[in-house]
């Protein structure tokens, strides 16, 4: 079955979109603006992983580098810029996030050049189930993504700082009068959002080729998944990412490879018009 194969490919792609959307939805839910630098955080994660992989030869070390380095960059962006704009209008934060995105892309372009880079991963024989072929690499990537998701959800739902983050997302003023220190929550948020974007970037880099622009191109699908899942809903972001990944893959035979991103845009418009709070969102919404 040709479509079963596309479904499998779509699920792996969907995990990448879901992780990126998770990063967006966390920031949107807690810091209250759409972070347009998320795509370039992903690029940063991919190059960090690429460098660590070249030095150590280990994908695991690459993943660790992506998590740490991107988390730190994301935190720096918050401390240097977003924190000081917290009381300003959403436009200020949006334009600043675009500025940070451009700046990161420029630094990566100068540091690593513009030629396409690939992770040198060993080729291996795919497992064959009937007519569906799954490569061990895809399986490993899926496991990494699931482990990352499990960790994020454990932090969000099992730790005190996670509970505080969810409280701030739910009602900022109520959280503050309940004695939650916003500073700590924001630092945890940006570390988490950066690390998640970094892992997503590394996965995308392993699946495709790395260029300084490649993360930016994921921004639209990631926003779409965030909105489809319902802004501020971590579960929604992941579910919507998987749906979008599968829809994009399965529709490729009909609409062609290049229209994947256009398809994401159409889905985003449709969701915003028909059900702006998405699949799992709360009532306060896009209007």
């Amino acid at each position: 079955m040709f479509y079963a194969q596309l479904l499998v490919n779509g699920l792996v792609q969907g995990l990448v979109i879901g992780l990126a959307a998770l990063s967006i939805t966390l920031v949107f839910g807690i810091a209250r603006f759409p972070n347009a630098a998320t795509g370039d955080f992903m690029t940063f994660g991919a190059y960090s992983a690429l460098s660590a992989h070249k030095v150590t030869g280990s994908i695991a070390m690459g993943g660790l580098a992506a998590i740490i380095a991107t988390g730190v960059i994301s935190l720096l962006a918050y401390l240097a810029v977003f924190r000081r704009l917290a009381e300003r209008s959403v436009v200020a934060l949006l334009v600043a996030s675009i500025g940070i995105a451009f700046f990161i892309r420029a630094v990566l372009g100068v540091a690593f050049g513009h030629s396409q880079q690939v992770f040198q991963v060993p080729l291996s024989r795919p497992y064959v189930f009937g007519s569906v072929r799954i490569t061990p690499l895809d399986l490993q990537l899926a496991l990494v993504a699931l482990a990352a998701l499990a960790l994020v959800f454990a932090i969000l739902y099992l730790t005190p700082i996670g509970r505080q983050m969810r409280a701030v997302a739910d009602n900022r003023d109520l959280a503050r009068v309940s004695g939650i220190r916003p500073d700590r929550v924001m630092i945890a948020l940006w570390l988490l959002a950066g690390s998640v974007a970094g892992i997503a970037g590394m996965m995308l880099g392993i699946k495709t080729i790395v260029t300084p622009e490649f993360g930016w191109e994921m921004l639209l699908p990631a926003f779409t998944a965030g909105i489809l899942g319902g802004i501020g809903s971590p579960v929604g972001a992941v579910v919507a990412g998987l749906i979008l990944g599968v829809v994009q893959e399965v529709s490729t035979p009909f609409v062609g490879f290049t229209y994947k991103i256009a398809l994401a845009f159409i889905i985003m418009l449709a969701v915003l018009l028909v059900r702006p709070r998405g699949l799992f969102g709360r009532l306060e919404g896009a209007r």
Partner: protein, 294 residues
């Protein structure tokens, strides 16, 4: 040297027309349009394709403005129902989709190879006289555009759209429907961008999808933020600085040895990013900004 200044003048005025459109949309009305380059691209390709088919340039320019404005119409309908930040994402997505369509539909647009040999304006005059005539024409359009936007800003309509920007609920409470005005503003701004695109196509004579990346949108944003949001003078001063920056970076590359074009492109995009962040943080009202507000 004279030819160089005329060339710079034409490009600068094209950017002024773009920033006038954004001033109307964001500066006066508060619509966060992150997809300006999409309307610019629609104008450029519309006029270029029609002109290559032999349509007179007057008509192809009109079609460029009309089609760009028309493309803004559905976005306007969507925008009425969305919060500002969602509208920003939608417009950004729109401009990316425009570029994807232009890239993919090779039968119409010749895809990534682009459209070469677009007829120039005033081709009959030849050489520098034609260049000068183009400059005068763009200048005339810019002045008319500036005049219209100044008139709008000072009119009841202008006060109304500024009121929408500052407090939409209050406008509704006064019995005015913000929706209609938002759509009008969006369409007019997009049509201006379409005209800018037509001038661009017929001046450069060769367009490819890569000329219409989101960076262009943020060049215009940088111009109006540096100049001072909501001010026509700000749009003009900001564009002047933008041109100094763009041309300056080209000179710099010629002077400093061993810097490749891709590296320079990186430096340019990095500088745009840094300037956007610094102006937003430290001088949000821009150089010509309105200090009496906020």
């Amino acid at each position: 040297m004279e030819a160089y200044f005329i060339a710079i003048g034409i490009i600068a005025l094209i950017y002024v027309i773009l920033s006038l459109g954004l001033t109307l949309q964001y500066g006066l009305t508060g619509l966060i349009n992150f997809g300006h380059v999409g309307f610019f691209a629609i104008g450029a390709y519309t006029s270029a394709l029609l002109a290559l088919k032999g349509v007179p340039l007057v008509l192809s320019f009109a079609a460029a403005a009309a089609l760009a404005g028309l493309a803004a119409w559905p976005l306007g309908l969507v925008s009425l129902r969305l919060r500002d930040d969602y509208f920003a994402i939608v417009t950004l997505g729109f401009s990316e989709v425009v570029r994807i369509v232009i890239t993919s539909e090779g039968w119409l647009t010749n895809g990534v190879q682009g459209l070469p040999g677009i007829p120039r304006l005033y081709e009959g005059l030849g050489g520098s006289a034609a260049q000068l005539a183009v400059l005068v024409t763009v200048l005339a359009v810019t002045l008319v555009g500036t005049w219209i936007i100044r008139r709008i800003a000072g009119s009841p309509f202008g006060r109304l759209i500024e009121a929408i920007r500052d407090n939409e609920e209050a406008v509704q409470a006064l019995g005015k429907d913000p929706a209609r005005f938002k759509i009008q503003v969006l369409v007019v701004g997009a049509a201006l961008a379409g005209i800018a695109g037509a001038f661009y196509a017929h001046y450069i004579t060769y367009i490819v999808p890569d000329q219409f990346i989101p960076l262009v949108t943020f060049y215009v944003w940088m111009a109006i933020i540096m100049g001072g949001v909501g001010r026509v003078s700000g749009a003009i001063v900001g564009t002047a600085i933008l041109m100094l920056f763009l041309e300056g970076s080209r000179f710099l590359r010629d002077i400093v040895p061993g810097v490749s074009e891709v590296d320079m492109a990186s430096v340019r995009i990095g500088a745009v990013g840094l300037l956007l962040v610094l102006f937003i943080m430290y001088r949000p009202q821009g150089l010509m900004g309105d200090y009496t507000k906020r």
